[in-house]
């Protein structure tokens, strides 16, 4: 590094010696041709200006001018070959010569400096542009960032490191893990959201915060080099560009996720409607036609049993379809948007529509409190009640009680039966599907074991509680607890 500087100065010196020699030679030639002193002065003035064009530093230029004045005085003014000045007018000529070349070269020097700065700025802008292009063209942010770091390192001749995080929490975790020598600077950058410069003889490091949505979400570190004020400002701009690129990638990702969710939702909805249509329509036909046959034809007992079997199986199939539909509904994306406040009595009433008159006769309603509102997805809650009542009817031959009451902000629905109770581990029914028990009532077919599992999932999505206890005498009590919806009246 030092030899380079020395070489540069030697070069400057040689240049001014050359200029001095060249114009002194010209002056001698002109002098021998008998030209006047005033013309010779102009040759020296020219010699004092020419250095500006050759990009010689200002100090050297002034030195050259000074030497030129002395040389002119030595060779071409009376008395010759001395530095003495007899004529006072010469003194004025020397000062004028010095000032003219001084001012002229100063102006040229300033304009050169400005030109240099403009060049640097345009270079900086070009780098900014290249950097933005790298970050914006690549859909993989990390990939774009790698290229951008290489570009920054080549531009700044420094070691550059970029840390950028998805969440503010990760930023604080990172600061905690930072090495102690830079930790305080990073923390300052995080707290103030301003660049922090560490400029010590042993360690030179700058830390620039990256702000996304007014939050510090990362840092750029420039190590091993002392940055000029211009470079610090420029690096702050780089921070903004990185933040914008990151934001862009994040919003593209969110947009893609939303699109994907929407497409999946559409697929689910079309699946839902096609299952319901494709299976419900033939079931409607089987159930309807068999009922019609039973009513219209005077059938003997054997035929009647056959048709009843057709009907029971169709009902069983329908029940399974409904269970599958409930599972699809449960897995629907924004389920809570389908929630609406309803009275629990209305849901029970709706659920009872799924049972035959014969079944209804066995159901006793016991509403201890009325007008209990709950915020639910009605299809699902009705399905939960249907499944529980269905089980109660299936595993007992006696009366089934549906009881509602409120306690401590909860709306409770109890389904009480005097049946066989739960023989297997209750948890097995709740957590795993496909656990089933042979029904007590021979009219019912053994289920696939989805019923209680679905009820448990339904109560879960409503943030409620499901509990099963043995009835004191016989059978079991299933309790659903749902938060009471506070009505705005």
């Amino acid at each position: 590094m030092n030899t380079n500087i020395l070489k540069k100065h030697v070069l400057y010196f040689m240049k001014i010696v050359l200029i001095w020699a060249l114009f002194t030679a010209i002056a001698f030639v002109l002098n021998s041709l008998g030209w006047q002193e005033s013309t010779l002065i102009l040759a020296y003035v020219l010699g004092s200006i020419i250095w500006t064009v050759l990009k010689i530093p200002y100090g050297y230029g002034l030195f050259l001018t000074f030497v030129n004045v002395l040389t002119f005085n030595y060779f071409f003014t009376l008395p010759y070959y001395t530095l003495r000045v007899d004529d006072f007018q010469y003194l004025f000529t020397f000062i004028s010569m010095f000032l003219v070349s001084g001012f002229t070269s100063y102006i040229v020097f300033i304009s050169n400096k400005n030109r240099h700065m403009a060049h640097i700025r345009s270079l900086n802008n070009r780098y900014l542009f290249q950097l933005s292009e790298l970050l914006y063209q690549s859909l993989d942010f990390e990939e774009g960032l790698k290229d951008a770091i290489v570009l920054l390192e080549n531009t700044l001749h420094a070691h550059v490191e970029v840390k950028i995080f998805n969440h503010t929490q990760q930023v604080t975790e990172y600061i905690e893990q930072c090495e102690s020598d830079i930790q305080s600077k990073v923390l300052d950058a995080y707290m103030t959201a301003q660049p922090q410069i560490l400029d010590e003889p042993i360690q030179k490091s700058s830390c620039f915060p990256i702000l996304i949505n007014k939050e510090v979400r990362g840092f750029i570190f420039v190590n091993d080099v002392r940055l000029s004020d211009d470079a610090i400002e420029w690096m702050s701009t780089i921070g903004s560009i990185l933040a914008l690129a990151k934001q862009r990638i994040e919003s593209i990702r969110m947009e893609e996720e939303a699109k994907l969710n929407y497409e999946q939702e559409q697929l689910r909805v079309s699946l839902l409607s096609s299952i319901s249509h494709d299976l419900r329509t033939p079931l409607a036909s089987i159930l309807g036609s068999s009922t019609l046959l039973m009513d219209e034809l005077k059938l003997n007992e054997k035929d009647n049993v056959l048709i009843t079997n057709i009907q029971n199986d169709a009902k069983w199939l329908l029940d399974s379809v409904e269970n599958i539909l409930s599972l699809i509904r449960l897995n629907k994306g924004n389920l809570s948007s389908q929630f609406q406040p309803v009275m629990i009595e209305d849901c029970i009433e709706e659920a009872l529509k799924h049972f035959s008159l014969e079944d209804i006769k066995r159901i006793h309603l016991d509403y201890q409190h009325s007008m209990l509102f709950v915020n639910v997805e009605v299809h699902l809650l009705v399905k939960a009640i249907v499944n529980l009542v269905h089980n109660a009817l299936k595993f007992s031959t006696k009366e089934v009680v549906i009881k509602t009451y409120q306690t401590n902000g909860w709306c409770c629905v109890e389904i009480i039966d005097k049946g066989i109770g739960f023989s297997k581990n209750i948890k097995d029914y709740l957590t795993d599907g496909f656990q089933s028990t042979k029904p007590l009532n021979p009219q019912h077919r053994q289920g696939v074991g989805l019923g209680l599992h679905i009820v448990s999932k339904i109560i879960d999505v409503h943030h409620g509680q499901l509990s099963i206890h043995p009835n004191s005498t016989q059978g079991s009590i299933v309790t659903i607890k749902l938060a009471i919806h506070q009505e705005v009246l």
Partner: protein, 226 residues
């Protein structure tokens, strides 16, 4: 003889419904797609139309939108799609009723009877309404149960009047709110309606837990039994 148009693409179900209706003394015509449905509609001018929503690739809702303004006939949607918002949407679009597949034959016949009555006795100047033990005198704005007068608040009376004038039909919550509170009803009014209905039941139903008169169609609306 009342004429019923069945628009249904499933042949088995088409057979079943037409047999059921013929056995009950109705004149039946059937269509499996929208173009034949349109020609049947114009040539037979049916009293009640049973409309399936999914007709292969075609959407039954198109038929409803196209013909609702042209006819006084009742249009009853018979669909496998069991979705509250869809039901509310179609009822608000002008469908007279909505039945989900599979349905009870008795229920379908009852809904058809309501549909037919709409065409024959849609009389706004009716003076009274009686169903079992309930009697409403529209002129004096009084409600009686077994000749004993029941005191209703003005809003309760308005709701009951609206439902009984449309008895047998499902009235969507939106339709009731619009009729009683006017077009500028709020979400709070919708919640109030549920409370009014519960109170109304307590006053007129012999057993409010097993309503006999005012039936709820959860997520859709209310219906005064036919």
């Amino acid at each position: 003889m009342s004429k019923i148009l069945i628009i249904e693409d499933d042949i088995s179900l088409q057979h079943y419904i037409s047999t059921l209706l013929k056995n009950n003394g109705y004149d039946v015509c059937v269509a499996s797609n929208l173009s034949s449905a349109s020609s049947m509609f114009y040539s037979h001018s049916p009293d009640v139309i049973l409309l399936d929503l999914t007709l292969g690739e075609e959407d039954g809702e198109v038929f409803l939108k196209k013909n609702r303004e042209l006819t006084q006939s009742s249009i009853i949607i018979v669909s496998a799609i069991d979705d509250f918002s869809k039901k509310v949407h179609l009822l608000d679009e002008g469908a007279d009723d909505y039945i989900t597949k599979p349905f009870n034959p008795g229920e379908l016949l009852a809904r058809i009877r309501v549909g037919l009555r709409k065409k024959t006795s849609n009389d706004p100047t009716k003076q009274s309404f009686q169903y079992q033990k309930l009697l409403i005198d529209y002129e004096k704005e009084c409600v009686f149960i077994e000749d004993k007068e029941i005191h209703l608040t003005p809003l309760e009376y308005q709701i009951l009047k609206y439902l009984t004038l449309n008895h047998g039909r499902v009235c969507t919550t939106n339709a009731i709110l619009k009729a009683i509170w006017g077009v500028h009803y709020t979400q709070a009014d919708a919640q109030n309606l549920r409370v009014f209905m519960a109170n109304l039941r307590k006053k007129i139903e012999p057993n409010p837990t097993r309503p006999n008169y005012l039936l709820t169609h959860v997520g859709v609306g209310y219906r005064f039994i036919d």
